[in-house]
Symmetry: C2
Subunit: 253 residues, 2 copies
């Protein structure tokens, strides 16, 4: 986040540092020692110690018997009141569960967040293939089924802005040519669903549909399947039903 602190203008110090410290906890670092935190944030040990101590006292972090810090239950509890959890997840979970049972495949639910697909939830089973997406994780918009849906239903301007930046290409099949993507997105809007084939992970593809509310795409549901199980017709119709069901649940409440 903040590679080096410019001495001339360090605006808000303490709070930003505290947020930086909390931000250290990501998929790669779910448990950290004080020293590790100090290294990651480039902050002096004593400063870290003090801040981390306060965060721990507040239940935002908790220290395990292994002297490592983890995200605390208080922080977790607060996060459950985010609109993401409160409205979306709660409304969608039963439907996602049914979708998971019906297809037996990886089911994911995502929203647009800072130019990336933010995975709000996912259901992964023994039967399904392993995936990179994880709840709380971010992946690019143009290489994932849910991402393409989320992007396709953005405004023309937002889409162009996205295409203007350098696009990561995780596999040879990833579509990174702006023109090809524009075509692909138009297709998504026309069909009402997106398809990816090995654009994020070798050997697997995905299908996703939008969850619409008041004419806007607020989220996307998708399944990730082994390439040779990519039965488009069946999955699209199941997904469409699920999306409608989630949308109804969102409106009804």
């Amino acid at each position: 986040m903040s590679p080096a602190r410019v001495e001339s203008g360090a605006p808000t110090a303490l709070l930003e540092r505290a947020m930086d410290i909390l931000g250290c906890f990501d998929p790669k670092h779910s448990a950290l020692t004080l020293t590790q935190i100090s290294e990651l944030t480039k902050l002096p040990m004593s400063t870290c110690h003090r801040i981390v101590g306060t965060l721990e006292a507040g239940g935002f972090l908790s220290k395990g018997s292994d002297r490592k810090f983890r995200v605390g239950t208080k922080l977790w509890t607060i996060a459950q009141h985010a609109p993401l959890s409160e409205r979306l997840r709660e409304s969608a979970l039963p439907t996602l569960a049914r979708l998971y049972e019906e297809t037996g495949e990886n089911v994911t639910l995502a929203v647009l967040d800072r130019g990336q697909a933010l995975y709000v939830d996912r259901l992964v089973g023994e039967r399904s293939i392993p995936t990179i997406s994880r709840a709380g994780g971010h992946l690019p918009l143009h290489t994932t089924g849910v991402g393409k849906v989320l992007l396709a239903y953005q405004s023309e301007k937002a889409i162009e802005q996205y295409l203007a930046q350098p696009l990561p290409k995780p596999t040879p099949q990833s579509i990174t040519q702006p023109d090809a993507l524009r075509k692909d997105l138009a297709e998504v809007r026309k069909n009402g669903y997106s398809i990816t084939r090995q654009e994020m992970t070798r050997g697997s593809g995905s299908i996703a549909v939008p969850i619409m509310r008041k004419g806007k795409c607020v989220a996307a549901v998708g399944v990730i399947v082994h390439l040779n199980r990519l039965d488009i017709n069946r999955l699209v119709s199941t997904l469409t039903d699920a999306a409608a069901s989630i949308a109804a649940e969102l409106d009804g409440h």
Copy 2:
């Protein structure tokens, strides 16, 4: 100069105030205006304004078009890396989904947190009855199915400590006599499951079983059902299977 300041040495720190502000977001307050935050925290407007602004800049809060603040995606994302989400929820979700499909009832997953039952997840459907429990919410240990299980498998000392405090009695059926509770808990340990009948909500009961790991009870799964659907034998066996399945998932990963 500071009339309303608490005389007792208030080591009021910026960070603590920020955590207080975040703590304002609870089930009753998922969206708050600056003024409301100022009232809830008893902090001056200008101070709130500054802190909230920093939190917003960091993505810990977000301001909606209705001028209300909500918990931001950054905070939510960090919380997804809490052990609760990372290990427990992810491992348990597929099983909970199956349990939900099999029973069609409210399914809840809880852990012990600060002397209360912390609901890690719940699945609520159209078919099932409305409940108070919600993901991220706390309820008393002695009035809920999952709570009784969590309490029953604590150490003798911890149990006595819990019983020593004044126990809330949300319904006339709630058991609050220490002796009656001790008996009830012994029953839970003997049977391997707990039962409640209208001890938290009129008209509904619940059954719950422990999720054991390394001989310790790390969580509890339960269902909440209408009293006249409380088919103990069937539910206990289904729940026991689910608990075993979640425990296996926890160990296997």
